[in-house]
Symmetry: D3
Subunit: 232 residues, 6 copies
């Protein structure tokens, strides 16, 4: 099968990292293709960036479809434009927030989310409510780092994320922690070891869930909310 992982921002180094994460867990026979939403903002920090990336993301979805993608992962924790992607795609489409929190709900009775900037906290809280998991989410926390700090070699970002995870476990009583940014994907093994608690990376979770849905023979339903876009 052919899995296309789309980075909806325009930072190619982040795409590489994301694709590496996806490939590291992809099953036998799964070809992972990475795509970057060239033309989009370099990172998605708030609603405005989400809007500005979305048409570029949809262009990549269309190209993925043209290339016979079996499933698509949208690798930004704001789950931008997922409904629109599902209208265009025929196979399953997964955002990494949805995948991450649903994975957490399967291995723990409660979880917290650790994201980058405080401004993303209310956005993620709203998504968690929409996915129906507010009752299992203890708290959405920010490590107070810009997204692109995660791309800078030698930055202190990873330590700040680790410290916030430790605070989540100590203060929230959560049983697992979901990483609230695609750019943290490469840290998941190190963070798990450092903290001793299940740490969930949405990129990994979405990759495996997308494989799972395809393997179960499921595709996006086309008889309602995700019917193909109306021709104009």
């Amino acid at each position: 099968m052919r899995l296309v992982v789309i980075n909806p921002n325009s930072t190619a180094s982040m795409t590489e990292k994301i694709v590496a994460s996806a490939r590291a867990v992809a099953g036998a026979g799964v070809e992972v293709e990475g795509r970057t939403a060239t033309g989009a903002p370099p990172s998605i920090q708030g609603h405005h960036d989400e809007v500005m990336c979305a048409p570029h993301l949809l262009r990549e979805v269309r190209e993925a479809e043209a290339g016979n993608a079996d499933a698509i992962v949208v690798a930004c924790f704001d789950d931008p434009a997922i409904g629109a992607c599902r209208e265009i795609a025929t196979g399953p489409v997964l955002g990494i927030c949805e995948a991450g929190v649903k994975a957490a709900s399967m291995i723990a009775s409660s979880f917290s989310v650790v994201t980058t900037l405080p401004r993303s906290v209310p956005i993620i809280e709203e998504m968690v409510r929409r996915y129906g998991l507010a009752h299992q989410c203890r708290r959405v926390r920010a490590a107070a780092i810009p997204v692109l700090a995660l791309e800078e070699p030698g930055s202190n970002a990873r330590n700040l994320v680790r410290d916030e995870i430790r605070r989540a476990v100590a203060e929230d009583g959560c049983e697992a922690v979901v990483l609230g940014c695609a750019g943290m994907s490469d840290l998941v093994v190190w963070l798990t070891e450092e903290t001793g608690v299940p740490v969930i990376d949405g990129v990994t979770a979405a990759t495996k869930f997308a494989e799972a849905l395809v393997g179960a023979g499921l595709r996006t339903s086309k008889i309602g909310a995700y019917a193909p876009p109306t021709p104009h």
Copy 2:
């Protein structure tokens, strides 16, 4: 005060209709400016169209800000990109779904929504849940007409809307009906007379609520979710 009403699709006749509705109710001293999201799809029928209109909408919001808008109304019932608009704007920003259902909640203990196409039903249901009014919303119904049929002189669209409102009252036990499309704005007086039930037009409601917020000295909060976009 200066109120900018933006039609996030590119159909100028719809903008004219919407602006006429807004002007018909605008208070003394309120200047209503209409803007069309030129370059956007001609109508918004589903998630894809919403995404494709959003950057054009944001451009209009930016121009409205440059023109010293005191408040902004986004005149599409899908409330596209409201969070992003609020990041850019300094004054209040209102979508017509939010305004319509919150107005309904103030004059009736329950309401139904009548929209155009069935594909919009789950989208509106999700918004109503997000606005916290699912317990007052009896049902979201579709009159099964394309948005642009409302622009065609001589079409049967208005009768179909009226008939669906009558069914809502008879079958849902609702006490008011919210019109689920900006393109129905010019019908609100006729529909109220025909059905004898309070019929709420989101354009009108949003215009007046925007005026109200400005009049109360309120502007969009800038210390959290709606802080200005991060510079890149």
Copy 3:
């Protein structure tokens, strides 16, 4: 239009303050009439006071209707007897809690409420749930002052309110604060300046929303919960 603002307690100095707040924001052509629920308790601090004020409040509503009121504001944050007022009134009726929190929901993704006494906290929490905004309300807080302390010149009440607002912003992560008592109405400008955060006064909000509903041609629905009282 004719807007009647009713103080459901019997303290005339509070009525004057409330009416001044309403007049300060009322639109051109809006005549604001204040009424005091003479015979009611001097302040409403709990369920008992709410019950004891309600028949006096309804009497004032009836007189307002006789005087051709276009809309009615009930200026107590417990929103006493709103359903009953809506049965009697023909125009819209707004309580200041409903107006305040719905205004907050339009300009901020989250808010806290600062009220007077701790005993009002569970009452307000229940109202916020009923209005469907629990997910946006971070916390309901009490400044621990009796209602009438707000009427005493030279009291420290305003400083206690300001301090509690600052704690709300610092501890709750809220983006706006709603004042939880009609008697705080005259402080809203000062509190906004002192705290630098959007502070919402329910009296002001209700005044403008009532104007808005009338301006939108909306009246209380009479086909269900708010039908006129049954004759006995």
Copy 4:
């Protein structure tokens, strides 16, 4: 123990019926005293009537307290002024809606409510939500009879109630039915026999739950929402 059952309307024949229901189930050593809210409306059909009965109800609560009541039942399905009664009372206070639906939730996984007039439906729906049992309540139905029709010998009211219960079972898939009016209290045995489904009378349920709370040594908590009224 001394249980005071208060009819918050002024119809003495209804008080007699209610007291008879309470006495029929009262435990050994339980003295049931009936009180009528003289001066209140003759029936409670909507919010207005509820407000107008409430001060008379509170007067009866005060007198019951003066007479050393151990517990109080408020015998109207709108549960009027329960918070205020709890502020005045020292023992437990139960409304018959709360008691009825909580009893239903203990013997069935779902229930419907059958009340008198359609206008009471949204009022009861809101109470069921407030009591946290919306997920177990299939539907609130009205038999379309005025409250006092239940007092008229020879009226068809009881048959209409029975027919509505049968429809509830057939159409709603509910496992029990709660009678939504104190005036149906004398019908509960007959209705149970006629329909073969558990039928729950709130008067009976509240009487027994009030006894139960007293027997368990519980009294109304006085450290928060139900603290004694503030002296003025």
Copy 5:
């Protein structure tokens, strides 16, 4: 009437304590029979123990039925296998968590729960949500004591429970506290005196509510979820 109180674990000393609590409050003419789920784990600390006790519990329910039980109380705060017990029983069946939190909801606007071990906290939180009382439950707390420490004479367990109740009142703003373990049943009077706040024991509450339901003529509905087990 004949009330059977079943201890679903195998610790006979706990059964004795529970039965003593039930008898201390049972009404005139109520015969309380205690039964121990011999063969079950000695205490129920988590999901596994709950499963292992359940068939033994059902055996005791069957024997109680054979002995003409009018009602059954399951005396473990995890409310194990209540649905299955209700399928077997003809009379009402009450778990002590359901009874405890519903009793609390009748005498206080909010409550906290104090249980034994932290691992029970998420289990109880889920039950409180299922019973629809999450909005009234401030917090579920653990005193960090094993269940059987409550059986050891001279242990410090009772002091730890008292201290946790005091913290609940001070930190949670709750108006009542529910004891989250059947083994705390004998402490309820002492804890109430020590803390001055309403403390609710589920065993006592369930005993009285079971009596109440029987006294109201109610039995478990057999037309849906609690129909008798399918014969195999």
Copy 6:
């Protein structure tokens, strides 16, 4: 990896069918082992059967662990004893209801469930609420067939299931249908073809999700609700 699929009832033919479904979708390198809860009831039709199967199910989980299972699927739509299984297991444990409805939520905005007997409807409704997906679940329906009718060659069961799916699509406006019984697992391809709507089999979904969680490096969290059982 080693995936153990446990049939918690004792009907071996059903185990075979379930294992065949799992093997049909299992990824390369996944060894699927089937286990039957010998000693359990032959089918699970209600709460009682669920309890009686659970200790046998746990025994199989323990043996699976002893055999180095990497993940476990519990193949009954009532998701019996999942919490207890998670306490025992080290890898992920998935019930087929949770897997089925979460899969549905990823490919459709709404779904209905079609199960066997009406008595399972309230049980499934409660699970859907617990999993947080009530807002996406249009309706839980029963085809009115006993579980074991699905095992009888030549029975009409499959046609009844197909007809109920068609009614779900026509009447509920759902976009996908989840099969509410493990015994329907072999019908999923046929039902999808017959109805033209996405039909989701929980066995398949759980198999792939279990694989996915293992592939993502996730195991059941052991620091809270799913810590190993307390030694007694």
